[in-house]
């Protein structure tokens, strides 16, 4: 896979505080969701605004497509469901709103690494239990995936025949073994945390700071959204 597709392209947006980008994302999503059915001019303006954001983030088209691809089938499924049960107008509205919101999520993921988002969540007083769980999930998802691949290879090398229903039982056992390993690892991680003075309160670094550029960008963005919504009302 092209390494570029896995990286976060650098732009001046990269230097903004992740709270600013999270706020921009939520303001944009709320603005999209607040539009009424048939608000074509508003949708067009909001699409234009999203394109400006994507251009500012210096995200290339293939990067955007790469990030959109896993989500699009779900968008299509949702839209198809609405088409079956509702009017064409409703279908258009749901499809446009979904696409714009997913586009905004792609912009957020392109400008803000997950580690910075976690810091934003912490600073925005999201319950620590949730942020710590997300942080551990992000850190250990890769370790767990590698472990699962190793176990699967070991299984396949001792089970060269074509997979049958009988294998489902073995795969279930494999999943059980993986869970037990995860449990053991969790214990070792906790011991490592205790060794470094962990006493129950999760203290973390605060790397990002709000600057004048953050406030100016957020103010300009909120202003643009307000103008679009008022002008197209």
């Amino acid at each position: 896979m092209n390494l570029y597709l896995l990286q976060h392209p650098q732009s001046w947006l990269s230097n903004l505080d992740s709270r600013t980008k999270l706020a921009v994302f939520f303001v944009y999503v709320l603005a999209v969701l607040s539009t009424k059915p048939g608000a074509y001019l508003a949708w067009l303006s909001l699409t234009g605004l999203l394109l400006v954001l994507l251009a500012l983030a210096r995200l290339q088209i293939r990067w955007i497509v790469f990030r959109l691809a896993p989500v699009l089938p779900f968008v299509a499924l949702g839209a198809f469901g609405v088409l079956l049960g509702g009017s064409k107008e409703m279908f258009l509205q749901v499809t446009v709103k979904m696409l714009l919101c997913v586009g905004a999520a792609v912009w957020l993921s392109g400008t803000t690494p997950f580690t910075q988002l976690l810091e934003a969540f912490r600073k925005l007083k999201v319950p620590p239990l949730l942020t710590v769980m997300l942080s551990f999930m992000f850190r250990y998802l890769f370790v767990l995936a590698e472990e699962a691949v190793r176990m699967s290879r070991a299984y396949q090398s001792r089970c060269p025949r074509r997979q049958t229903l009988k294998d489902a039982e073995n795969i279930g056992r494999l999943a059980g073994a993986l869970m037990l390993r995860t449990y053991n690892r969790a214990e070792r991680i906790y011991l490592a945390m205790l060794s470094r003075g962990f006493t129950g309160e999760f203290r973390t670094l605060s790397v990002q700071k709000l600057t004048f550029a953050d406030i100016a960008f957020l103010a300009f963005f909120v202003g643009s959204v307000t103008v679009i919504l008022v002008a197209t009302h």
Partner: protein, 249 residues
């Protein structure tokens, strides 16, 4: 001049909840500035013993760190003095980025954000990993993760560095880099390892354990040269000593 005691263990016993006796009356002393290897076959109780040095496990018997007995009241102070590096760096590195991980210990010691970052950067420089500060641990090679794991402990400025199998699973170049890094560190070191050549390189003193007991304590080279002793406890005379012996013959 009398060497100050860094770690003293007196008649330490430990039994796991499943009933396995891991330690059966272990006693020894490590002086400040010494480098001591703990060797022995699998299941000898090496890792269990290491986990007692900073109070992670608490068996019956006594463990003293710089003269102070480890109790539930002084755990934080003890963990500041004794830094433990686990065998698998994926257990040690649990934060999303390297810098956050290395700063985790200093923040728990109550240091300010600025001081924690300063310590983290210094520790990363010591292990030659400054370039990885903003990376996620999963983006690093195993050898790099190992060095960062050591940095996480160095950032707490411990007086005793305890390492569990530091060279396990490393390729020769990473192993060599890690060993010279460890040798440069001027702290008391206790190293549990199967890598006897590494033990020879790092430690003047060795403790041979088997079945939860200490079988021999003495000069590393002397213990490792004793073929009968080594074979009786599931070990072998390391190749470097064999080579020297065959040359002298």
């Amino acid at each position: 001049m009398r060497v100050r005691e860094a770690i003293r263990v007196e008649n330490l016993h430990y039994r796991y909840p499943d009933g396995t006796y891991a330690l059966k009356g272990v006693s020894f002393c490590v002086g400040e500035g010494e480098s001591v290897a703990i060797v022995g076959p699998n299941g000898a109780g090496k890792t269990t013993l290491l986990l007692h040095f900073n109070g992670i496990l608490r068996g019956s018997g006594k463990v003293f760190v710089f003269g102070e007995e480890v109790t539930s009241r002084n755990l934080l102070a003890v963990r500041k003095l004794v830094g433990l590096v686990f065998q698998d760096p994926d257990d040690q590195l649990f934060m999303p980025t390297v810098l956050e991980d290395v700063a985790f210990g200093p923040l728990n010691l109550g240091l300010s954000q600025e001081e924690a970052v300063k310590r983290a950067i210094n520790a990363l420089e010591m292990v030659g990993m400054s370039y990885a500060a903003n990376k996620s641990p999963h983006q690093l090679s195993f050898g790099e993760r190992k060095r960062v794991a050591i940095a996480t402990v160095l950032a707490m400025e411990p007086k005793v560095l305890v390492l569990d199998e530091p060279t396990a699973n490393l390729d020769p170049r990473s192993r060599r880099q890690l060993l010279s890094l460890l040798r440069r560190l001027e702290v008391t070191k206790i190293v549990a390892t199967h890598d006897l050549d590494a033990a020879l390189f790092l430690c003047d003193k060795a403790i041979l354990m088997d079945d939860g007991q200490i079988v021999a304590i003495g000069e590393t080279r002397e213990i490792f040269s004793d073929e009968a002793l080594m074979e009786a406890h599931g070990l072998e005379v390391p190749p470097s000593i064999l080579a020297l012996q065959s040359r002298s013959d």
